[in-house]
């Protein structure tokens, strides 16, 4: 059985959808952040796969993936810092109840 | 550009703006306001005299002192100016009311800001009356409207935010219609295929020609748009409700300017744009607006009969009187139109006088409810006598301006009505003329009711006994207006001739005038 691109893409798609689903439905900011990471990582997989299968001689996709991982790490650190600060201020990280600054 | 005398009607207020911006204290502000408005009066008189001279010398152009400066070439927008008898009458009126208004707001709070906005408003008013370019006219119209919001919202009384918002929104709603109409006129200004133009004179010169005028089908669309647009400002039923609330909340000078001049913008616009440019549609559609304005006339008067707030009474009376202006314009008859312009002058002066007096009385008694006041004649005889004179002018006492204006309107409308009736074109005009005539009785009812309750009889509130009569600046303001009211009332033929010469252009051939 030859392993084709589809074997990578379908799990990535499932991962992405899980991320989207999680992002939409979870109200806890940490969980939302995790969902966001899921989506990012799904996209990273896609980058790597397409690089490997479509332009095997080049490395742009790989670089991009590494780049995204780095950014995601930074972003996660930042997001968690914000969440912690929100938690300190509001004793809560449920997005439904964080509407004091909305209007 | 500065060789044309008319441009100074805008330049002087702009200079006044600059002057007031530099002023340090209230005395300087007053000095600038008074000097500037005196200069404006002088300027209008000079223009009037020059105009009469030119006419006497046989000048037959529809407008004199015309000039035009390109402003935005791609859309052919020009700053085009020119005046005829009607505009001059309006310019005179405006300058007199700005003068009287400055005196009426002698003791206003935050004088600098107040006068800045007030003068900006008069920039709009004067600009509106001198331009003959539709776009510039619209621009000045908007310039005159916007300061009103701040003037009422900041310096007003009562439910000022509500009133200011209502007034501005309703007038802006009118402007929306108006803008549509004006743009429509622009795009159909030259159906023969020449260059499009915003210039009123150019469009009007073709109005009588069935080939070159605005296409008749379009006229039927554009006429209602422009007429309603201006009609909102002219307090046409059912778009008049901004007027009672707006006037009731506005400070004295703003009420004066608004009722005295701004509402005239509506009548003037209806005449100058709607009727002047689209006579065909005016003839076809006048009956709709005739009914609306005819209703305005009696409706305003009836409503005024039961109001107890002085400003509301006067605002409804303005609805009635301004209704008469639009009503007469729609008669499409020289005499009635002359009457309409005279009524604009007359109503402008007398209602400004009314609002000035109401403001002065309110400033003393701190109430405008006629049920809470009484016997003011014993306490402030000067103001009371002025109030009686204003009332008499309003109910059409001969010798004051209201009478000549109303009579001219009635004679003209009756002629138009009879001509219709005998010509088998229905009796609508005739019937509404007679209904409008009835307003002279209803006017007498509400005026005398107020005069009787407010000025005569025993003193209602003992606290009022200590109040003082008018100060010198209040006297100056009222005397100016009374003199003008009496001047029109005693020498109507001068104004009649001034206005009448305007109706010579061939454009009215299409109306059979």
């Amino acid at each position: 059985m030859e392993i084709t691109a589809i074997y990578y893409l379908v799990p990535a798609l499932i991962m992405f959808c899980c991320g989207v689903y999680g992002f939409i439905t979870r109200k806890n900011m940490i969980a939302m952040l995790i969902s966001l990471e899921l989506m990012l990582n799904a996209v990273d997989i896609n980058f790597a796969v397409f690089n490997r299968f479509l332009w095997p001689g080049q490395l742009e996709g790989m670089f991009f993936t590494l780049f995204a991982i780095a950014i995601a790490a930074a972003e996660t650190a930042l997001a968690i810092a914000i969440i912690i600060n929100i938690f300190r201020a509001a004793k809560n990280i449920d997005v439904r109840s964080l509407n004091e600054m909305k209007f | 550009m500065f060789a044309n005398i008319l441009i100074y009607f805008v330049v002087i207020p702009l200079l006044m703006l600059a002057g007031i911006a530099l002023c340090r204290n209230v005395r300087q502000i007053r000095a600038v306001a008074v000097t500037g408005s005196l200069a404006l009066i002088a300027l209008s008189v000079v223009v009037l005299l020059q105009y009469l001279d030119l006419r006497a010398a046989g000048e037959t152009a529809p407008m004199l002192f015309t000039d035009s400066w390109t402003w935005f070439e791609p859309l052919h927008i020009n700053l085009a100016v020119g005046v005829d008898g009607i505009s001059i009458a309006m310019l005179l009126l405006s300058s007199i009311i700005v003068f009287a208004g400055s005196f009426a707001s002698w003791k206003i709070d935050q004088p600098k800001e107040f006068f800045l906005w007030l003068i900006l408003l008069s920039v709009g008013v004067f600009g509106f009356f001198i331009t003959v370019d539709l776009f510039t006219m619209f621009m000045f119209y908007e310039v005159a409207l916007i300061p009103m919001y701040l003037l009422i919202g900041v310096w007003g009384s009562g439910r000022k935010n509500y009133s200011a918002m209502k007034l501005t929104l309703m007038l802006m709603g009118g402007s929306a219609f108006l803008m549509l109409g004006l743009i429509g006129i622009y795009y159909h200004s030259n159906p023969a295929g020449g260059q499009l133009t915003w210039n009123i004179l150019e469009i009007a010169s073709r109005a009588a020609d069935a080939e070159q005028c605005i296409p008749q089908g379009w006229q039927m669309v554009l006429f209602p748009l422009t007429f309603v647009g201006f009609g909102v400002l002219g307090a046409m039923f059912p778009f008049h409700t901004w007027s009672p609330d707006g006037h009731a909340s506005a400070p004295t000078a703003v009420s004066m300017l608004h009722a005295g001049v701004l509402m005239k913008l509506g009548g003037y616009g209806c005449f100058r744009v709607a009727i002047y440019l689209m006579p065909y549609a005016a003839q076809e559609l006048s009956y709709i607006f005739l009914i609306l304005t005819g209703i305005s006339v009696v409706y305003g008067a009836f409503c005024a009969c039961v109001k107890t707030d002085l400003k509301y009474i006067n605002a409804y009376s303005s609805v009635s009187h301004c209704g008469l202006v639009l009503f007469a314009i729609l008669m499409l008859n020289t005499t009635a139109m002359t009457g309409a312009i005279m009524q604009m002058l007359s109503h402008g002066l007398m209602t400004a006088l009314f609002f000035a007096l109401i403001g002065m009385i309110y400033g003393r008694t701190h109430t405008r409810e006629i049920t809470k006041m009484g016997g003011l004649m014993q306490i402030m005889p000067y103001l009371s006598v002025c109030y009686v004179i204003a009332g008499m002018a309003s109910l059409g006492l001969p010798g004051l301006s209201g009478f000549v204006a109303e009579m001219t309107i009635f004679v003209g409308s009756f002629q138009a009505g009879m001509a219709d009736y005998l010509g088998g074109e229905g009796s609508l005009r005739l019937v509404f003329t007679i209904i409008a005539c009835c307003s002279i009785v209803i006017t007498a009812v509400y005026i005398l009711r107020v005069v009787g309750k407010l000025l005569f009889g025993p003193v209602q509130d003992d606290h009022h006994r200590t109040l003082t009569d008018a100060t010198w600046w209040e006297r100056l303001s009222t005397v100016t207006l009374i003199l003008c009211v009496a001047a029109i009332g005693c020498f109507p033929n001068f104004f009649n001739n001034l206005i009448n010469t305007t109706f010579s252009p061939a454009i009215f051939a299409v109306l059979g005038m």
């Binding site: 989207v20 992002f23 939409i24 439905t25 109200k27 939302m32 997005v95 509407n99 909305k102 | 918002m165 209502k166 929104l169 309703m170 059912p238 778009f239 409700t241 901004w242 609330d245 409706y299 009836f302 409503c303 009969c305 039961v306 109001k307 005499t335 016997g375 004649m377 014993q378 008499m392 109910l395 006492l397 001969p398 010798g399 009478f403 000549v404 009579m407 001219t408 009635f410 004679v411 009756f414 002629q415 009879m418 005998l422 007679i434 005539c437 009835c438 002279i440 009785v441 007498a444 009812v445 005398l448 009711r449 009787g452 005569f456 009889g457 025993p458 109507p492 033929n493 009649n496 001739n497």
Partner: protein
């Protein structure tokens, strides 16, 4: 004729008004009063000169070779030109009736000016508050009234008509602190304004068809070509004549437009002359100072309606139906007012109703006048009665003023038996009563007799009716006279506080007017005033039987009054109890005021104004407000879409993206 004098006649009162009105507050009372009186005295002299020149000067412009009187336009200045033809001019027309009116107005006005110098101060000589203002208003009134009578065109008449209305308003409301005076003045103005509406529309109709406002054009055209009319000025008659005669004027609701115009114009006259049903303002107008009542509401302004009809008389002659209406209205008013006058307590109100009744006499007289009845005697009789009535009614009012001044009350119940205390007032008042009752040789006899003659010439009903009213007149006037001066002895404080006659400034006008009332009947009035200018010698046509009958009727009325009221007795009470309903209705003036109150307050205010105001505030304004509310609501409704929750946005994004994808997919298929 030189124009200076006529201009001065109009200009002096106007100038006096402005002078006293603007600077009166700074003047002493005495100076203001004197200035006003002197001004009026000058006008009196000028008017007398003018009238004398007109009647007896014999200049060819006033009288033609055959002795017929002509209309003469002294000056005519354009004031406001509506169209080419319809031009309001301010002018001065001299003809018999305007010259006569000049005399009447200036005489009465001067008397009133003089009289008020005494009347408008209390017993200690302190001037009333607003004394200067009073003289200013009197001058304004005189100016307006003079302008009215000399008007050569109907619009000038309308202008001054309004001005007299306004000055009447100001003078009725002179005691502006009194609520009753304020409401009376308001009522007077509004009722006459309502009538003026008719007048205005009448003018509009008439001027539309004739294309002119000028009286001379109207009247000349109306009589042009009539038999026996020789001398009426005919300028532009033919065109107008065509409108009215050759081509039938269009009909409107069953009557020709001319009839409509004339009836509407007459409506204006009804308002000013207090004809039924527009009479209600006049009794209330007695709230004004008594000299004002004498001047405006007895002698001059209230006869303006009669004068108006007389001015347009040739036109009315063309429309018998209009004259018929005038007759009927006049006859009804005459009887009504006379009946009411029999039951009033306030002496000024009795006189007011008597005025209404007498003016109705004049109206009837015009209404029954025809060319073929004694050569238009009714017209002359009406004018004659106007003249004599002005004199004796002013006399009666000034007498009543003297009584009120002395007693401090308007009701005869506070008077009784005053003849000993106030002999001058008594005698002059008696002369006035005799004159109005129509006893020979006082002036009222002659004028009333001619009215009755012309009534007889027209129809017997009119004659009998008006004779009955004449008898009633004698009755109520003598009832008043006896109740004031006789009845029972006055229980007064003797000595210093006893009622006494007035100072000479008040007595002098009474005496002068009494003398005039005695002799005015012998003026050969027919030679001076007639409807077409042809002198008419009424002594040659004097109908002795009518005179005898009217004398008998008058004496019967007086006799009845003597029996009932000379001494205190039970008869009046008995009479009152015999016909309680009639008495009550008369006493309450047939409830006209209540009816008007109902109409104005309940119907006009309650059913029109209030609902309209409500409609405006709630429906119209509500609609406008609801636009704003709807905008706000719509904004509120879509605001939740911008919740700020990113998850919702992702949902929208996803749904949108899927929808777009779906649409693209469908389109590609």
């Amino acid at each position: 004729m030189d124009v200076t004098v006529p201009i001065l006649i109009l200009a002096i009162p106007l100038f006096m008004f402005l002078l006293l009105g603007l600077t009166g507050m700074k003047m002493s009372h005495k100076l203001a009063g004197t200035l006003g009186t002197l001004g009026m005295g000058t006008v009196l002299v000028l008017a007398y000169v003018t009238a004398f020149t007109y009647f007896f000067g014999g200049a060819p412009e006033f009288i033609d070779a055959a002795g017929n009187r002509l209309q003469y336009l002294v000056f005519d200045q354009t004031w406001l030109a509506f169209t080419q033809n319809l031009v309001i001019k301010i002018g001065f027309l001299l003809d018999p009736i305007s010259a006569m009116m000049l005399v009447v107005i200036t005489t009465i006005s001067f008397m009133v000016h003089l009289y008020s110098l005494g009347y408008m101060r209390d017993h200690h000589g302190v001037y009333e508050h607003g004394f200067q203002r009073f003289y200013a208003f009197l001058s304004l009134f005189s100016f307006s009234m003079l302008g009215l009578v000399v008007a050569p065109n109907i619009f000038q008449m309308y202008i001054f008509w309004e001005l007299v209305g306004a000055s009447s308003y100001l003078l009725i409301g002179f005691y502006y602190r009194k609520p009753s005076a304020v409401s009376a003045s308001k009522k007077a103005f509004i009722v006459t304004r309502f009538a003026d509406l008719g007048f205005l529309i009448g003018i509009l109709v008439l001027s539309y068809y004739t294309g002119t406002f000028n009286f001379t054009d109207f009247t000349s055209s109306a009589v042009a070509g009539m038999e026996g009319v020789t001398q009426v000025n005919i300028h532009t008659a033919e065109g107008i004549l065509n409108i009215f005669q050759s081509s039938p004027a269009p009909m409107f609701m069953g009557a020709s437009v001319l009839t409509w115009a004339l009836v509407l114009i007459f409506m204006g006259g009804m308002g000013k002359s207090a004809m039924l049903p527009l009479h209600i303002w006049l009794p209330d107008a007695m709230e004004g100072p008594t000299p004002v009542s004498a001047l405006i509401h007895a002698a001059t302004m209230v006869v303006a309606g009669v004068y108006l009809v007389a001015r347009l008389f040739p036109l009315y002659l063309m429309e018998e139906s209009a004259l018929m209406i005038i007759t009927v209205v006049g006859a009804l008013t005459a009887l009504y007012a006379a009946m009411v006058a029999c039951t009033q307590v306030d002496i000024k109100r009795v006189l007011a109703f008597s005025t209404i009744s007498q003016i109705a006499f004049m109206m009837v007289s015009l209404g029954v006048a025809r060319m073929d009845i004694h050569h238009g005697l009714g017209y002359m009789a009406s004018m004659f009665h106007l003249f004599t009535h002005a004199m004796f009614k002013a006399l009666l009012f000034l007498g009543a003023g003297a009584l009120i001044h002395a007693i401090g009350s308007n009701d005869y119940t506070d008077m009784h038996g005053l003849r000993k205390y106030m002999p001058i007032t008594h005698i002059t008042f008696l002369i006035g009563c005799l004159a109005i009752a129509g006893i020979i040789p006082f002036s009222g006899f002659f004028s009333k007799d001619e009215i009755l003659s012309s009534c007889l010439g027209n129809s017997t009903i009119a004659y009998v009716w008006m004779s009955a009213v004449a008898g009633l007149t004698a009755f109520y006037m003598f009832r008043l006279y006896y109740l004031i001066f006789w009845w029972k002895e006055h229980k007064v404080h003797e000595g210093h506080h006893a009622p006494h006659d007035q100072p000479w400034v008040m007595s002098l006008p009474l005496i002068i007017l009494a003398v005039i009332s005695c002799v005015a009947g012998f003026i050969p009035f027919g030679n001076l005033v007639s409807w077409n200018g042809v002198p008419y010698d009424f002594m040659a046509h004097f109908n002795w039987s009518v005179a005898a009958v009217s004398l008998v009727v008058a004496i019967a009325g007086i006799a009845l009054a003597t029996v009932m009221y000379r001494k205190e007795n039970e008869l009046p009470a008995k009479f009152k109890n015999a016909v309680p309903a009639l008495w009550r209705w008369c006493h309450h003036r047939f409830y006209w005021d209540e009816l008007y109150m109902f109409i104005t307050h309940r119907i006009i205010f309650g059913c029109i104004c209030r609902p309209l105001a409500w409609f405006d505030r709630h429906i119209i304004d509500g609609t406008m407000d609801s636009f704003a509310t709807i905008t706000n609501k719509a904004s509120d409704a879509i605001k939740p879409l911008q919740s700020g929750q990113v998850q919702m946005y992702v949902w929208y994004y996803l749904i949108g993206a899927l929808a777009l994808g779906g649409i693209t997919y469908i389109c590609l298929l």
